[in-house]
Symmetry: C2
Subunit: 280 residues, 2 copies
Amino acid sequence: MRLRFAEPQVEGLELSCEVRAVLHSETTPYQQLAVLDTVTYGRMLVLNGAIQTTIVDEFTYHELIAHVPLCAHPDPQRLLIIGGGDGGAVREALKHPSVQRVDLVEIDGRVVEASRRFLPELAAGLDDPRVNVLVADGIAHVQGHQGAYDVIIVDSTDPVGPAIGLFSPEFYAAVRRALTAEGILVAQTESPFFNRSLIARAYGAVSSIFPRSGLYWGVIPTYPSGMWTFTAGSLAHDPSRPQAGRAASLKGKTKYYTEAVHQAAFALPPFVQELLEGPC
Amino acid sequence: MRLRFAEPQVEGLELSCEVRAVLHSETTPYQQLAVLDTVTYGRMLVLNGAIQTTIVDEFTYHELIAHVPLCAHPDPQRLLIIGGGDGGAVREALKHPSVQRVDLVEIDGRVVEASRRFLPELAAGLDDPRVNVLVADGIAHVQGHQGAYDVIIVDSTDPVGPAIGLFSPEFYAAVRRALTAEGILVAQTESPFFNRSLIARAYGAVSSIFPRSGLYWGVIPTYPSGMWTFTAGSLAHDPSRPQAGRAASLKGKTKYYTEAVHQAAFALPPFVQELLEGPC
């Protein structure tokens, strides 16, 4: 028997993956959750039918979302990750010697448990003594922690269901209040081919709330179009500039991130740049 | 009736596109050729079941393969494009005021005819008086034109069937001989996720034949993994450096290329950089 999982990525387009085995499947209070073993991308976390991360390509997303804000900040000690229950962003953050505490706030505890069991390469860092895993609502958490974090990473699912509030101007304003004086926010903001108005709205909100902002991008093969954006808001430092020597100080190798890749990720093709100049 | 076209991209992975209409289908002396009208990517050229280019995403590939070598060269006048029968690379090359002549050598004249008829946005430049379309074998053409070209672009299909010889060291050596003293070669060299040994071999050959070389990359949503590489070989100039002011001199806008994007495209993630350091 040959099994296939086909993700409807956008209208008229599916990515279809041959499946060796369905390792896990359940309906949580928030979403349908599955872990598949696929021929091409290895083990794959799927939420509500959408690919979240795979063993083969997860490094591009997790390195971009973690190292860009952490390397742009002069001394990141306290970090908040909203979403990211798979643990990949935590794993990358722990490579920074300055990081003393990581709060991971994931609304769906079953994602954390599934990742611990089936994706240990991503979840291993969740047991580090610096990490505090909270199964809670990220919006409420941010509202209750003013001035608490040097860096906040929004590692959310797509802007439907439980994640929809994580793309609102009110949420970005609450994130600003939860940051310390030199704080930096980074949020994943989808594809410049298929989510153009979302990027324009998210960047417009962040750039109106933070004194400095930037959009950067990278390749994530299992996400629609393979081209993905991240929106950064910063209270003091240019998010496109890595602090000198920081990359060399990381504990552990990177496969995607370098200082040059950090800066290059902010070089926007004109069809992306135009999203920053106003609503579509 | 709902039609779908599914491209088997690599083992275990298909990109499946909803098709509004099959605009054209034929078997040429070289390959099966189809033009589909797809819901997500608009009109799409398909050769032997592999997506070559689409109206929606073609600009990333054609701008990268054309403007990087042309902007790195101090005065590109004579250009050879091998393959590229759709005309997209020609269209971009004609934006350079210095270009006086473009020889397009496509082995399959039916690709040129289908593009003229169904992809006029790409093929329009083929009727420009500076362009000479030759239906011929690119390898023989290069061997017969020593010292004839300032820039040679290898815009080939995948390294199977008629294109296989376009990835050989002997071919790259013949390209070197066909270039003028400051000449530059660029060839498409596939995905760093799925074609790692091919990239290492192609880059190894080019870097042993040319005094300067470089690998650069960009996003092409309809190609496997969405991340695509180009290998550059140069007789005098650093291919990663655009000539000052060149981008601003282009006749016609670009959607992907800028001077900053040119330089950023050479910033290689470590998992790509390692391909340059020896065979896999």
